[in-house]
Symmetry: C2
DNA sequence: CGCGGGACTATTGTATACAAAACGACTGGC
DNA sequence: GCCAGTCGTTTTGTATACAATAGTCCCGCG
């Protein structure tokens, strides 16, 4: 990861608090105060407030009674909703990408999926590496869509806990399936066929959703 | 408008700055400083910064070179993108609403569209009233979809300048067409037919988009 | 013993002062 | 005359102090 520990205190606060929530170290539904977060991160309340605004916009945090801060606790329905929205938006992104992707981006997609495949081919694949490459792959597709608003919306959705909490439970078979679906998406993008790309992406995400549902029942 | 001038300074700042941008009183692409905004609103920089975070998340404001603040200047492509995303998301909302809308919400929808129709029937319709009822109508549909994330995303998209800047240029005929489309959507929702509802909403918004494009060419 | 009111406390919201960084302009050298 | 480096100014970022407000707890009264 080796982040340069961004100079901005508010960025550090954002990253750190978000990491705490994603790692479950804060406990979903728990109430937090600006003060305690400030102490954890080691900065004053000002940058923490800044970070909280962002986290609130991204639904990692809610406000109860317009005051108290609660960390998000997603219900099964919430997760289903996220997957559904993500499927719709990311399928749209794939379709747009098919119409306008640059050759260089296609190359990068292939390289990324190759790294992902290589990891899976190892005797004991490192899930974290898989997730990183997977994330990178989807990010490339979204960027290729050339729609900043879409990218912004998806940015908030994609990284949400779902992936992290569940990927560990995916079977090796599921992971290889992902890699093959990525490969097919690349074919669709190369063919510049938006309908095909949309369909592949929709199937890819909805399959992941059901794999997730089954695994976490 | 008669807003109760919310107790929170940051809310006032948010509303006021947003209004300035929407009314075009700040000039798209212009650069602003926290200080000057603070003076305009009559509060300190702190709540202004708070408001700016929100406005930034909603893309009313960008940051150049990761520092300076610029008010958004939407290109034709940006506007097309907003309409496209809105059409997709709101059509989805309509489909979900068809499956789960409450009878009471249906009644409210009818009442809202009736008020909208009544306004159009007057000798000189007040566009502001039309816009308010129109907004309310769409809001009801979105809420009936029962998907908070979807509602959040659309909230940011729907109100964006498009509506305000352009509705004044819509012909009376266009406005009546909107009312009829709303009526058809209500039929689709009553029939609990998601596909129908989706199609009507898609058509409704894409028609509005093209009316807008033609009017602002 | 239960209920309401009021003071206390914890927490958020706002202002101000200060630090760091970025932009711009000026000057000196080449 | 042009480029680069540096200094000053402007603007953002952070800390701290203070104000307002919501939540709670306890006491007194019915």
């Amino acid at each position: 990861m080796s982040e340069p520990a961004s100079a901005r205190a508010s960025d550090r606060a954002y990253a750190e608090i978000r990491a705490l929530i994603l790692a479950g170290e804060i406990a979903p539904g728990a109430s937090v105060t600006e003060q305690m977060l400030a102490e954890i991160v080691g900065v004053s309340r000002t940058p923490v407030r800044d970070a909280l605004r962002r986290l609130e916009a991204e639904l990692y945090i809610r406000r109860s009674g317009s005051k108290r801060l609660l960390v998000a606790d997603w219900s099964r329905d919430d997760l289903a909703e996220m997957f559904t929205l993500r499927a719709m938006l990311e399928a749209h992104a794939a379709a747009r990408a098919a119409e306008r992707i640059e050759p260089s981006a296609l190359v990068e997609l292939k390289e990324t999926n190759a790294r992902l495949a290589a990891e899976l081919a190892r005797p004991v694949p490192d899930i974290a590496v898989f997730l990183a490459e997977n994330r990178r792959f989807h990010e490339l597709v979204i960027n290729a869509a050339g729609s900043p608003r879409l990218a912004g919306m998806l940015g908030k959705l994609v990284e949400q806990p779902v992936v992290r909490r569940t990927a560990a439970r995916y079977s090796a078979d599921e992971l290889r399936r992902s890699e093959r679906e990525h490969a097919e998406l690349i074919l669709a993008l190369e063919a510049r066929d938006p309908d095909w790309a949309r369909a592949v992406m929709t199937a890819h995400i909805r399959r992941a959703f059901h794999a997730f549902s089954a695994a976490s029942r």
